[in-house]
């Protein structure tokens, strides 16, 4: 069962200036982090349930909290995955989606099944001497709605991946 109340409560506690400006003692900061993490977990279930109901498809949704530092186990380890982009604004937006991936060639299809231009960008890592690969594509998302994009990695075995198995679904 999903629940947004624990996150609301954690956010209410974190309105205090100690949480915003860093004027809290270390043990209090640790507790703020604990409350946020505990609040987010049932909220993820709530979002998953909402997406399942709106898209009519039940999925094991993954939330990548470390996308800003190019860590996302699903996109890095999967040959095929779906990207749901939700737009909370009351107008249509175009958003550049960046996902860390393993080295390779990828095909991205929009909700109407059309292939969208994508690039795999090879970047120097800030943390190690290794290079990172990031898949970049532009997503178009309707006002207060979501779009589901399908991504397939092309390997020797599925070089005919042009006919993507993942069935795209229209934006809602």
């Amino acid at each position: 069962t999903g629940d947004s109340a624990p996150l609301k409560e954690a956010m209410a506690v974190l309105q205090h200036h100690d949480a915003i400006t860093g004027t809290a003692r270390q043990n209090v900061v640790n507790d703020y982090a604990r409350q946020l993490a505990a609040g987010w977990r049932p909220c993820e279930v709530l979002v998953s349930n909402a997406l399942a109901q709106l898209s009519f498809y039940k999925q094991n949704f993954s939330f990548c909290h470390e996308l800003n530092i190019s860590i996302c186990p699903v996109s890095q380890n999967s040959e095929q995955f779906q990207v749901t982009v939700y737009n909370p604004l009351g107008r249509k937006v175009h958003q550049m989606v960046r996902l860390p991936v393993s080295e390779g060639i990828f095909f991205v299809k929009d909700p109407n099944g059309k292939t969208v231009p994508s690039n795999v960008v090879i970047l120097p890592s800030s943390y190690s001497k290794k290079y990172l690969c990031e898949l970049v594509f532009s997503a178009s998302v309707p006002a207060l709605g979501f779009s589901i994009y399908s991504v397939v990695k092309v390997t020797v075995h599925n070089s005919q991946a042009q006919s993507l198995q993942a069935s795209p679904r229209r934006p809602r």
């Binding site: 094991n60 699903v74 779906q82 982009v85 909370p88 550049m96 690039n119 960008v121």
Partner: protein
Amino acid sequence: SYVLAIENEYIRATFDSETGLLMKIENMEQNLSLPVSQGFFWYKASTGDEESTQASGAYIFRPSHPKPLPVSRWARIHQVKTALVQEVHQNFSAWCSQVVRLYPGQRHLELEWTVGPIPVRDNLGKEVISRFNTPMKTNGQFYTDSNGREILKRRRDHRPTWRLNQTEPVAGNYYPVNTRIYISDGHMQLTVVTDRSQGGSSLKDGSLELMVHRRLLVDDERGLAEPLMDSGTGKIVRGRHLVLLSSVSDAAQRHRLLVEKEVLAPQVVLAQGDGSPYSSR
């Protein structure tokens, strides 16, 4: 020596190939060009002086000198250019780097900075800023927002309702920035949109700065009883500054839409495989 630039149909950002620093921003749509030098600096935190025993701490920002020191005078750079993104990676030091990024169709320049862990082995507390220097004549004025709503005019060393005796030339001119800060010369406007609340100021005409990270060794004795010191090796912070250069008449529309998109950003959720049909019944 050659000129390094990234550009799309609206913006061109030029870098000095000798120093690796941002040198110029051009709005090609409105035919505007502004020399902009951007880099990272740090203020040495005060631990108290002859005038006051007040130290810089969690509650108090009090640098010991008004002039900050550069993290580095040059950056090692790496350029990435594809059809969908152009980036210049700037490495200032082992603890400070930045990616300057431009996507097609984008009317702003994206600066993604990574700062930390701030070294304190030299026993100096540090307050790190990103500073933009331009030749704009701003007449001591700059603008910051109030909770993303009303934009307030700020005047250096001045308060609108009383005669100010400025005793802190840096901190006394710092203001909260919730979503944006800008400077203008009446003709063009340089706006920086933040992804989080920060402190910001314009300490010289044409200059604009935002504090991005701090690490201090002394408690400011305001009740916390702990210095603003991360346990362990220290925190690494990553954030973004979105830079808009436009005519004054056009600026408000642009930064309002951009801030909306930044604050209510699209959310990405991933799923493996195809899933199974679902009905709420």
